[in-house]
């Protein structure tokens, strides 16, 4: 059924093992106090911070190439966050030829840069590479922090670049980053009336793309485990739509639970030990929780309606879900034992609310809204009590938001009318900063991984 494949999911701590964090051999630069280069992303719309990211110089031809590519990856990550405006390297006046070069701050200020990323890539006799960086506050004329260095195999340069982008993001915003992450999604091809759908996985920026299944079976709605290299998803294997577990490293997959009819809409609990899902019996869908250790399931809702798309709160103490028990599909929240079911969305003009996903920060629930007066679909967020609704993205068909692990960015898919293109987009909570995620073909049902451990 599935292609055999192995993905390298190198733990971050192994990348770091050879790293000399802290002192980077440049003792001349005392670590200043935390500089004043700071973006407050809790404000509404943020003016992106001008930042200069020159190519990291290398010590060998190979490391020179890696240094150029690393700077490009870091630049793209920071730009796509909407919080940074990387400056065009063509205008750079100073060549940052090594980590020992002291920035000429007047030159960088003249370009309007507020921050500068200095780096280097050193080829080692062992064949390893050492990638180091140091962030500067251009106006304050001091380091933002000591920077870090990573010793790694050359082929890991891209992951190290994302990790460095996360470090810079964190240094300047005070929030954890989300660039060293992956996305699992459904790759679509073929005619709309008989679509071929495959599980696929890629880095958050679309790189390192791989197919996980061969398309022999219709597959939908993959979701990442928060703790393991595992995905839960829906497959129509043998013409029975059921929830499966898929191990990314081994390719092994198994059916989850023993439901008499269709099971669907799975999602992991934050501790990775449970999966909550819908199971249908005689046309009625209810929500069940499966314990992955005991393989026992318990029913959480018992209502003659479609109760579906359950999703845990980040603390694992509540579940939001969608139900049409009130006549149209709306959002509800309940305790994890099924008690205290409470409606939180009240769509005007028959607007439906669907696919709730709880922010990793716990403060918001993202959703799809549709079938209101104008017929459009929307991606929006509301507080877990239903207040403070904000719509972030709109289209003929936009659907299925998934959170970046820092709770600041959403990814979703958008479909054009008449069976047109289907693609993934990211948008931040301001609703201003929308990007298409480049995929080899049509793409839907994205799910963002946690930060790779």
């Amino acid at each position: 059924m599935f292609e055999d494949l192995k993905l390298s999911s190198l733990p971050r701590r192994r990348l770091m093992s050879a790293a000399a964090t802290g002192a980077l051999g440049a003792a001349a630069y005392a670590a200043g106090a935390r500089a004043d280069v700071r973006i407050d992303i809790t404000r509404g719309r943020v003016e992106p911070m001008p930042i200069a990211i020159p190519a990291f110089p290398g010590t060998t031809p190979e490391s020179t190439q890696v240094g150029k590519d690393a700077a490009a990856v870091i630049t793209a990550d920071l730009e796509h966050s909407g919080l940074f405006r990387p400056l065009d390297p063509k205008g750079f006046l100073q060549e940052m030829s090594s980590l020992d070069v002291q920035p000429r701050f007047t030159d960088w200020r003249a370009l309007g840069a507020q921050a500068l990323v200095q780096g280097v890539v050193e080829g080692q006799p062992t064949g390893q590479m050492r990638i180091a960086f140091r962030p500067w506050d251009v106006f304050g004329g001091q380091q933002i922090n000591n920077g870090k260095a990573y010793g790694t195999q050359p082929e890991n340069w891209r992951r190290v670049s994302h990790i460095i982008a996360d470090e810079i993001y964190t240094a300047i915003t005070g929030e954890s980053g989300y660039f060293d992450t992956r996305v699992v999604y459904i790759a679509e091809s073929g005619p709309a009336i008989n679509r071929l759908k495959r599980l696929a996985i890629m880095d958050q920026d679309g790189a390192n793309h791989r197919y996980l299944t061969d398309g022999a079976n219709l597959v939908l709605t993959p979701r990442f485990s928060p703790t393991a290299q595992e995905i839960t998803y829906l497959s129509f294997f043998r013409n029975v739509p059921r929830v499966y577990l898929f191990n990314i490293d081994s390719g092994r997959q198994e059916v989850l639970g023993d439901f008499p009819g269709m099971s669907y809409a799975p999602r992991f609990s934050p501790d990775g030990n449970k999966v909550v899902l819908s199971a249908a019996l005689n046309g009625n869908s209810d929500i069940y929780e499966m314990d992955l250790r005991t393989r026992s399931s318990r029913r959480l809702t018992d209502n003659p309606s479609i109760d579906t798309t359950p999703c845990y709160s980040p603390r694992g103490d509540q579940i939001c879900f969608a139900s049409d028990r009130g006549g149209t599909q709306q959002l509800y929240v309940m305790n994890t034992d099924g008690s205290g079911q409470q409606r939180i969305s009240f769509g005007q003009n028959r607007a439906r609310y669907a696919t709730p996903v709880w922010s990793p920060r716990g403060d918001l629930i993202a959703f799809t809204r549709y079938a209101g007066n104008d017929g459009n679909f929307y991606i929006g967020v509301m507080k877990p009590d239903g207040s403070g609704e904000r719509l972030l993205a709109q289209g003929f068909s936009v659907e299925g938001p998934t959170w970046a692990p820092n709770g600041r960015v959403l990814m979703y898919f958008a479909q054009s009318p008449n069976g047109g293109r289907v693609r993934l987009y990211s948008i931040d909570l301001t609703g201003y900063n929308q990007w298409e995620i480049l995929t080899p073909g049509d793409a839907s049902d994205p799910a963002w991984s946690p930060l790779i451990p």
Binding site: L220, P241, M262, S278, A280, G283, N284, T308, A354, E399
Partner: protein
Amino acid sequence: MKLRILTAVAVAGLMLAGCSTPKKQEAAAVAQAQTQTPPPAAPRGPAPDSIEYFNTVVGNMVHFDFDKYDVTAADQGVLRGQAQWLNQYPARTVTIEGHCDERGTREYNLGLGDRRANAVKAYLVSLGVNASRIKTISYGKERPTCVVSAEDCWGKNRRGVSTVQ
């Protein structure tokens, strides 16, 4: 409609032929030959116990309103025909597919398609078809028959399809 137009053309052709003397006798001969042969038997259609008969004569499809799953009055006759046929051929089994239009979300549409398939099943069971002969499957919005984003097309996609085996 196309057939009727062709017939009209053929008739016009015959009339034109009638105006041209050399063809006149030929046309008359054809007309005579037709009156002499015995009337042809009714066109041979699919055998009444065949899947083709079920699909084309009985009717294998019903449709639903937006976000609804009740069998419409118009479609009850189709399902009565299906039940009658299934009762007549008890060796046949049926799988009912529930489908939705694109104006709903993926998972909800799976639930809605399941509801639609089960609504058809319940109707057939109420007319005496044994439930053990009926399977259901929901395809949600995954298998449209029509991909124009307009109500006419969405209405075609909101369907229950009975596939007999």
